[in-house]
């Protein structure tokens, strides 16, 4: 008597570059899947996946200018989940880290788990990993605030200028419709960011427009300019804005006292 195979889902990341940032386990899951869904947005990367497993389905066809990305992402998740429901061993491969700034991967996993079936995500190399390597910024040095550009503008967040600011999707800053597929609508958002940041940083504070290298032919895009120039910069859809820290804040005397320490003591411990 044959038992019908239960569907399952493993979501993997192919890295930011085209081939070299995939883990061994990711490659193995791609190879051994019944079907692989791809949200890779890079023909070379897709080709690498297709060589590992020829039974692939692209998700990119669901993007349409003017169509809300919320609908597109729901359709992507539905497509993945339907294959799992049909009893297939499914692998969904997204570029970068599949759980970082990706909506349909998390949605698909939740839906599959709600069905009582196995769903797992494997980590991948994200744009943030590339940024840390390319810019030599250790998020532990000053602490780090990392957030999506539009979310920060729309919500009542507090920015700490002593921490490194990493502002993702700056090319979509202030874009509310979710229907644009280019970075031509961010001028008002950039102007607002400049205004907000100028309240905390000097006008000449150096900021960085960053794009990880997506092709091995060329390096990352790293443009450094003064904060006063922010409103005139030209980001793309993959640009990230980095605002370096003003430096460490003063020690918090009250907390040190509660811990039975003094500033002199901790400085002494640091320096020995």
């Amino acid at each position: 008597m044959s038992t019908k195979q239960q569907g399952s889902l493993v979501v993997v990341g192919t890295g930011i570059s085209v081939a070299g940032q995939m883990t061994l386990l990711t490659q193995s899951y791609i190879e051994n899947a019944d079907i692989v869904f791809m949200g890779i947005a890079n023909k070379v990367g897709e080709n690498v996946v297709k060589k590992l497993n020829p039974n692939t389905v692209e998700l990119d066809d669901l993007y349409q200018s003017g169509k809300s990305r919320a609908i597109t992402y729901q359709q992507m998740a539905d497509r993945i989940v339907d294959a799992v429901k049909a009893g297939q061993k499914v692998c969904a491969a997204f570029y970068g880290h599949p759980g970082v700034f990706v909506n349909p991967s998390h949605a698909a996993i939740k839906q599959v788990q709600a069905l009582g079936l196995r769903a797992e995500m494997l980590p991948g190399i994200s744009a943030e990993d590339c940024l840390i390597a390319d810019l030599g910024i250790d998020p532990a040095a000053f602490g780090c605030q990392s957030y999506e550009a539009t979310q920060f503008l729309f919500r009542d967040y507090q920015l700490d200028p002593h921490m490194t600011q990493i502002i993702w999707q700056i090319g979509l800053a202030g874009e509310a419709t979710l229907g644009v597929l280019n970075a031509d609508h961010c001028k008002a958002g950039l102007t607002l960011y400049q205004e907000i940041l100028l309240k905390m940083y000097p006008a000449e504070h150096e900021i960085i427009l960053y794009e990880a290298a997506t092709m091995p032919l060329y390096g990352p895009r790293i443009e450094r300019f003064a904060l006063s120039e922010l409103a005139n910069c030209q980001p793309t859809l993959i640009s990230t804005l980095v605002v370096p820290s003003l430096g460490l804040p003063n020690y918090h005397q009250g907390r040190l006292t509660q811990l039975g320490l003094t500033e002199e003591q901790v400085i002494s411990y640091r320096n020995t």
Binding site: G20, F94, N103, E148
Partner: protein, 67 residues
């Protein structure tokens, strides 16, 4: 027959020796790999926009919705 630019990109991203050779001399490395003259020309001219148009779909990259 010339080798494809797609294969070159894939190997360049996964072969340290080829990568190091490319960093030292991009055109000679591309040519020695066996790329067609027009593909070597793209590298010589650093015509990365052509490469991006051929292979990348920036508008089709996932963007998170969190606001």
């Amino acid at each position: 027959m010339a080798k494809s630019l797609v294969d070159f990109l894939e190997e360049l991203d996964s072969n340290a020796k080829l990568k190091e050779a490319y960093l030292k001399d991009p055109v000679a490395t591309a040519s020695a790999y066996g790329l067609a003259d027009e593909d070597v020309k793209i590298i010589e001219n650093k015509d990365w926009e052509v490469v991006q148009k051929l292979f990348e779909g920036a508008g089709k990259s996932t963007k998170t919705i969190s606001y």
